[in-house]
């Protein structure tokens, strides 16, 4: 224990200055209204819904969840939703890769990207209405098939219709996202790989895919979360009482047809949990792949 030199106590800095050292001043307060807003209208309802789901109209605290998992009419919705969301997500994300690879070489991408933004802007309701017309038994699509002697296909009020609408509204989104990740990869990396003898296939698997993996994971998460929440197209274009009875329909019915907001919250929680589960799964898988920057060094 050595002697410590006696120091005169330092001057107490005024509170304002001390806070400013932590970047806390008047300007920081500007973030408060928005933060309070999000807490009040997002975090609080979520927490409220969570608590509410454990306060059922009748029965024990877990009655809502018990009811959900004991009634096939209810718990089958999880399977129905997964049956739509997983293929749709996989198709949308995986197909976006080769398309984005092609398109990134184009010099005049703007036209193509503008066209592809239109489905996203129009939204799922309009796409559902449009497909009801277009894919109907007398619609142009079936007529063209009949012209080629391929017969008619049932494309509306069933699983297929909803799947097609998920692809139509989801693909532009995943494509644009993949494209932006792809163009973020330093082109000199592929050039270097080529000079070292890597053919196109090898370049794709050894260079592009590992560097894209990070972005793909994000893409899969966002896409899955969106497709899992499918609602208007499942009702309008699908078979809401049958094959495409998705979990959002169950939640809606509980809230607005049975006026059981506790049950509705429980279903919303289950829905959120399913989405979280898959997202965590995808993000955990990232650990096996490279996670850093996609540049090739200094300069």
């Amino acid at each position: 224990m050595s002697d410590r030199a006696v120091e005169a106590p330092a001057e107490r800095l005024p509170l304002r200055v001390r806070l400013a050292l932590y970047d806390l001043d008047g300007v920081t307060l500007l973030v408060l209204p928005a933060v309070l807003f999000v807490i009040a209208l997002f975090v609080y309802p979520f927490a409220y819904g969570f608590v509410l789901s454990f306060e059922p109209k009748k029965g024990a605290w877990f009655a809502n969840y018990a009811k959900f998992f004991s009634d096939p009419f209810l718990y089958d919705t999880i399977e129905a939703t997964f049956r739509l969301a997983i293929p749709a997500t996989l198709i949308n994300v995986l197909v976006s890769i080769p398309v984005a690879l092609r398109v990134r070489r184009m010099r005049n991408r703007r036209v193509l990207t503008t066209i592809l933004v239109i489905p996203i802007t129009l939204g799922t309701v309009l796409i559902a209405e449009g497909l009801l017309n277009y894919l109907g038994p007398q619609g142009w699509f079936n007529r063209t098939l009949m012209l080629f002697g391929l017969g008619q296909i049932r494309l509306v009020h069933n699983y297929t219709g909803v799947m097609l609408s998920l692809i139509l509204s989801g693909f532009p989104f995943t494509f644009l996202l993949t494209l932006s990740y792809l163009t973020g990869i330093d082109p000199s990396l592929e050039q270097a790989a080529a000079t070292l003898g890597a053919k196109a296939r090898a370049r794709f698997w050894t260079i592009l895919m590992p560097l894209l993996a990070q972005g793909l994971a994000i893409n899969l998460c966002l896409s899955f979360v969106q497709t899992f929440s499918v609602f208007p197209s499942a009702v309008l274009l699908g078979a809401p009482a049958g094959a495409t009875r998705v979990i959002s329909i169950a939640a809606y019915q509980a809230a607005y047809e049975q006026y059981d907001s506790s049950m509705a919250s429980a279903i919303a929680m289950i829905m959120g949990f399913c989405q979280l589960f898959v997202v965590v799964l995808i993000l955990a898988a990232r650990r096996f792949v490279y996670r850093g920057a996609a540049g090739g060094g200094k300069g």
Binding site: D186, S188, L189, Q191, A192, A193, A194, T195, L196, G197, A198, K199, A202, T206, I207, P210, L211, Y290, G292, A293, A294, G295, G296, G297, K298, G299
Partner: protein, 354 residues
């Protein structure tokens, strides 16, 4: 020695041209490179040197002309089929692979056995003196170390030709000098031909066996460093090689020499490439324009920068021309000094030739 360059006799560029739409980036480049030669492509930005390198690598297609490696025509081959090593300006190291994996990439593309790859990678690491960094990721290395990995990656595949695209431009001055020596050492060790792109004439002079000076897509002169330093073939090449003083004048014959007017006085100069009487350009290096008490040219000093050994100065002659010269003794703005230049160090070019 495990790593040694593959043998070839001659790499020949025959009228290689490349245009981007209406812009001619390269026009009719013709050059012959022998095994083991170190060639520098030297020129200002936009002169086409990087374009030429990319055409050689196969990253750009040749618009017309051809490239031959001995008897094989290679300009139609994809880059992965040419087998040349390339060091990129920004190194282009694969960020998701360790140093060893980066270096061994070309070898694994060739399908070599793991043990063989490991052996060669070890040797390459030893050559570039990075033996203990093998398991790090590129992001964990300094600029100079990344540079070495890029070089190791290019030489380990034992290419007949190594292409380098301004590899030192992103390094600080001290590191650049160190790496210059390293590059020359490695080149001699491996024995491959190297084509090195740079805009720095000092680099080119110190590294190359032969220098190719380019401007606006054309080859202006090909020669050894000594040739280019003392006998640049055109005024623009001279300017690039440091002949900062370029004075337009009319010349008169005087025996084997030409008399030109500089600063209002007559100065004897050596004609280049058959320059004769008439309109000419006289080129003089600042270090050849010496301060001499009895010198013919009179200038008023305008600026003077201390450089340790001497002063880099500029001055204006009586007829308004600006001249750059060196002085061993200190001079200040406003001083009057007299300059002289040896006739053999005043190069006179005919105007038409530029």
């Amino acid at each position: 020695m495990v790593i040694a360059a593959r043998d070839f006799r001659e790499l020949r560029l025959d009228g290689m041209s490349r245009n981007f739409g209406a812009v001619n980036a390269l026009t009719g480049v013709t050059l012959s490179v022998r095994r083991g030669e170190f060639i520098a492509l030297l020129g200002p930005s936009g002169c086409g040197k990087s374009t030429a390198l990319n055409c050689l690598a196969g990253l750009l297609t040749v618009s017309s002309g051809s490239i031959w490696l001995d008897k094989t025509r290679i300009d139609r081959l994809a880059p992965e089929e040419r087998g040349f090593g390339m060091v990129f300006q920004n190194y282009a190291l694969f960020p998701h692979m360790s140093v060893r994996k980066n270096i061994g990439f070309g070898l694994s593309m060739q399908g070599l056995a793991k043990a063989e790859i490991a052996r060669k990678v070890n040797e390459a690491l030893a050559i570039v003196r990075l033996g203990d960094q093998g398991y790090k990721l590129p992001g964990q290395l300094s600029g100079g170390q990344q540079q070495r990995v890029a070089i190791a990656r290019a030489i380990v595949i034992e290419p007949p030709l190594v292409l380098m695209d301004e590899p030192l431009s992103n390094l600080d001055a001290k590191l650049r000098l160190e790496m210059r020596a390293e590059i020359r050492r490695i080149h001699e060790l491996i024995g491959s031909a190297t084509i090195y792109v740079t805009h720095d004439q000092e680099e080119a002079l110190s590294l190359a066996d032969r220098i190719v000076v380019m401007r606006a897509g054309e080859v202006r002169q090909v020669g050894t460093p000594e040739d280019l330093y003392s006998r640049p073939a055109h005024p623009d090449v001279a300017e690039f090689m440091g002949y900062r003083n370029q004075i337009g004048s009319r010349a008169e014959k005087s025996g084997n020499l030409l008399n030109v007017i500089v600063g209002g006085v007559s100065l004897a100069g050596t004609p280049v490439d058959g320059a004769g009487e008439g309109s000419v350009v006289a080129a003089i290096r600042p270090d050849d324009l010496k301060v001499a008490a009895g010198g013919p040219i009179s200038v008023r000093v305008e600026s003077s920068q201390y450089h340790g050994q001497d002063f880099y100065c500029s001055g204006r002659t009586d007829d308004g021309a600006e001249l750059y010269f060196r002085s061993e003794k200190k001079v200040t703005k406003g001083d009057s000094v007299r300059l002289a230049a040896d006739a053999s160090r005043v190069l006179v070019y005919s105007r038409a030739a530029s």
